[in-house]
Every structure is written in C-alpha cells, then in structure tokens.
Amino acid sequence: TQLLEQSPQFLSIQEGENLTVYCNSSSVFSSLQWYRQEPGEGPVLLVTVVTGGEVKKLKRLTFQFGDARKDSSLHITAAQPGDTGLYLCAGAPSDDYKLSFGAGTTVTVRA
C-alpha cells in the first residue's frame, strides 16, 4: 500500500481542455510537493503547499492542499502540449528526510 495515492494514472486530453490530478492519503503531512518529470529527465519541483486549504497558482497550474492536510490536487487550465509529462506528488508524514512519492499521473496533451 502506497502512502500517497494518485489518480488518475493516465490522462490524455486535447489542447485547450482542463484537467485535474488528485493526490490522497490517510496520513497528515506538514507539506506536500508536486513535481513534473519529462522523458529522460529527473523530476522538477513545481510547488510546495504547507497550510491546510492553501491554494497556489503557477501560471495555468493551480495547486490546492486539503483542509486536513491529507490530500492535494493539481488543476491545469487550457492545457498545452508543453504540459505533457509525469506529475508526481510527494510528502513526508513525519519530520524526517524520507520523502514518499505517489505513483504519478502521466498527462498527454494532444495538439
């Protein structure tokens, strides 16, 4: 059983459509991170959410941290082909260095 469950596993949409990726857990996190990984490269940090209920925006990407700090979502508005990639949520439920990753959501945006 994974600590962080991501859904959906795969998402294929047309350019201009919106999409949402979910990251859920039964554990409470002091913070959650979202990373994006492109083929042949390492994950790149997009955002950290810290406060329950927090909403952060990064251009067309909106990240939300659940009120209870157990879940998070990533919403992309008007997706573009450049948004294609593997989106990973990550967090450490205790104050240590052991970061757990979700299994990832592969997003494909078709032109």
Binding site: Q33, E41, A103
Partner: protein
Amino acid sequence: DTAVSQTPKYLVTQMGNDKSIKCEQNLGHDTMYWYKQDSKKFLKIMFSYNNKELIINETVPNRFSPKSPDKAHLNLHINSLELGDSAVYFCASSPTSGRRNEQFFGPGTRLTVL
C-alpha cells in the same frame, strides 16, 4: 550551470558485474539522496546522506553501497549486478532544514543489466 549532475547517463552491463554511478551537486546542500525509479515510474528512496553521514538506509540489498566523500558528492556502487537492478537511478539533493522536501534531482542514470 548544472545543479545536480550524474555520470554516466546510460549504463549497459552484464549480470554479475560491478558498477558505480557518480553524483555531484553545486547547490551547497547538506543532504543528498539516491532514488530508484522502476519501469512503472514509481520513485522510491534508497539512501540519504547528510553532511557525509548516512541517515536513510531503506530495505536495499547490501550489494548496493553508497559513499559520500564530501557533502557535494554521493556515489553508488553496485556489486554482482542482477537483472532486477535494471532501472533509472536518480541522485537528488536538498537543504537540511525547513525545505528538505524540496529536492533537486539529477538527470538520472539508466542502468540496463543483460
């Protein structure tokens, strides 16, 4: 400027061989990590060093031995390679306090064991 670099990018070798992967970071971070990403893209931590001290050692076969000569370098040596070791190995680094979950990853080393 490359923040976290790994060598080699690709490694193809025969079962039973011994190989090493090197990692260097120029971000001034105190903590470095090794992760393994399997064919399903699941990323799992293997080891972590903080200021040259081993602080995370997950359930990894003892054929894998990390070594940190200084806080900017973390190497991974693998003995007696097996088919199941084939994966992409990522090095990462992070600050020690506060934002340690904000990790910077290298480009990965794709290991193929034949």
